[in-house]
Symmetry: C2
Subunit: 242 residues, 2 copies
């Protein structure tokens, strides 16, 4: 708590191994009880580019009494490129510009190696974050690449609830993992998102094994999530992590 006012939050850079990140804690809680933690996964375009939206989400969470942490995804920002993933991105662009369907092999090459690398990193980050003063459980996950959130929800028992953004392509292999998810889910879908397939998003929502799962679909493209939809996601976390 820097000066005693309730809405002051603290933001600090993190380095987890060689992975850069940001931690924000709600100032008013840091002296008293540890704040529940929300992992804010940035989009794969890199934390620097996504910074304004990421900070907005983090501030919103801090005002609600949550600590948040973001770490750079593998291959994003200043982290070493992943040549195979970059080839997949190029193939994806080519297919989309040509108006061709995006084949399974492109989606698999784009997403599966990212999931394989990112999930252990988030788990190691969680070990480190939960050892910090002022940061505690329960833990939520709020993320941009829905396949990463799906696998994390299956393999990481410390995550109690997740907000997932259905805004990326989904490998077929993820459907079997989705059926094994049991934590409460709040899924955001932009109805006219250019960066994913709406029917696949609906099928994935259907596949999740959770008893409590909610789909909030809104109009507009990938980056057009309305403010009220963000507010609803925040209330989901307050309901489940407090």
């Amino acid at each position: 708590m820097r000066d005693g006012r309730p809405r002051v939050t603290r933001s600090r850079g993190l380095l987890l191994g060689d992975i850069p990140g940001i931690l924000r804690t709600p100032g008013s809680r840091s002296v008293s009880a540890p704040a529940p933690l929300i992992l804010l996964s940035p989009p794969p375009l890199g934390m620097r580019k996504a910074y304004p939206r990421l900070v907005d989400r983090a501030r919103h969470c801090a005002a609600d009494g949550f600590a948040t942490a973001a770490i750079e995804l593998p291959g994003s920002g200043a982290r070493p490129r992943l040549p195979a993933a970059e080839r997949a991105v190029a193939d994806l662009r080519r297919a989309m510009e040509a108006g061709e369907p995006v084949g399974d092999e492109i989606i698999d090459a784009l997403i599966l190696p990212l999931v394989d690398r990112a999930v252990p990193e988030w788990r190691a980050a969680l070990d480190a974050l939960l050892s910090l003063p002022g940061v505690g459980g329960p833990v939520g996950y709020s993320g941009g690449v829905i396949s990463i959130g799906t696998r994390l929800a299956v393999v990481e028992p410390r995550i109690s609830a997740a907000v997932l953004f259905a805004g990326s392509f989904v490998p077929r292999a993820m459907f079997a993992e989705a059926r094994r998810v049991t934590i409460p889910l709040h899924v955001l879908l932009q109805w006219d998102d250019e960066g994913n397939d709406r029917q696949t998003a609906l099928d994935l929502f259907d596949a999740f094994g959770s008893q409590e799962k909610t789909l909030h679909a809104n109009m507009g493209g990938h980056t057009g999530v309305p403010q009220f939809a963000g507010d609803a996601a925040a209330r989901f976390f307050t309901r489940h992590l407090k």
Copy 2:
């Protein structure tokens, strides 16, 4: 205002022609500014059977500062039966029990005459309700038979926003009407609703012409709308009618 406490609300029976109804006003507002009105359409099983849920919705709205009015649907409760609609209900039950697809002719016979009769009744009720002291605009509609709400949203310019429950079968003819809807919509869908077709509900959501439309899909059957989904619908009205 019965005793000056802010949460006290007044409920009174209405008779609009020969149509029974209920009006509830937020006690604290009745002396000062008129309260915005929400039309609470009961389900077609009759107001008496739906009473506990209807009262719960009305109390919630009153606490948020809204007046609410419900009128009995044609053929429901103590109102004269509609023999053609009753034959359609029997045909529907037979088809569902036999595990057969529900044909268009059954859906049309079940829904279209109900829409044709109910919509002018709601409009006449609106004339009467808006002339009462303590009741004003803007007006919202929150209703159970989605085709009634769809047509009302098209033909009744005094309705500014609607919460629609995608829990009934939809005649194909309603899709053209849905495209003409332009007011903000908040659509509730129970993912495993036994009383409608999920894909048709999603297609209807897609068809609505409104720039702001949100779909909230939750787990469970027809009557299992979770409390938090009701709360979100209430916030939609607060955002649009206040």
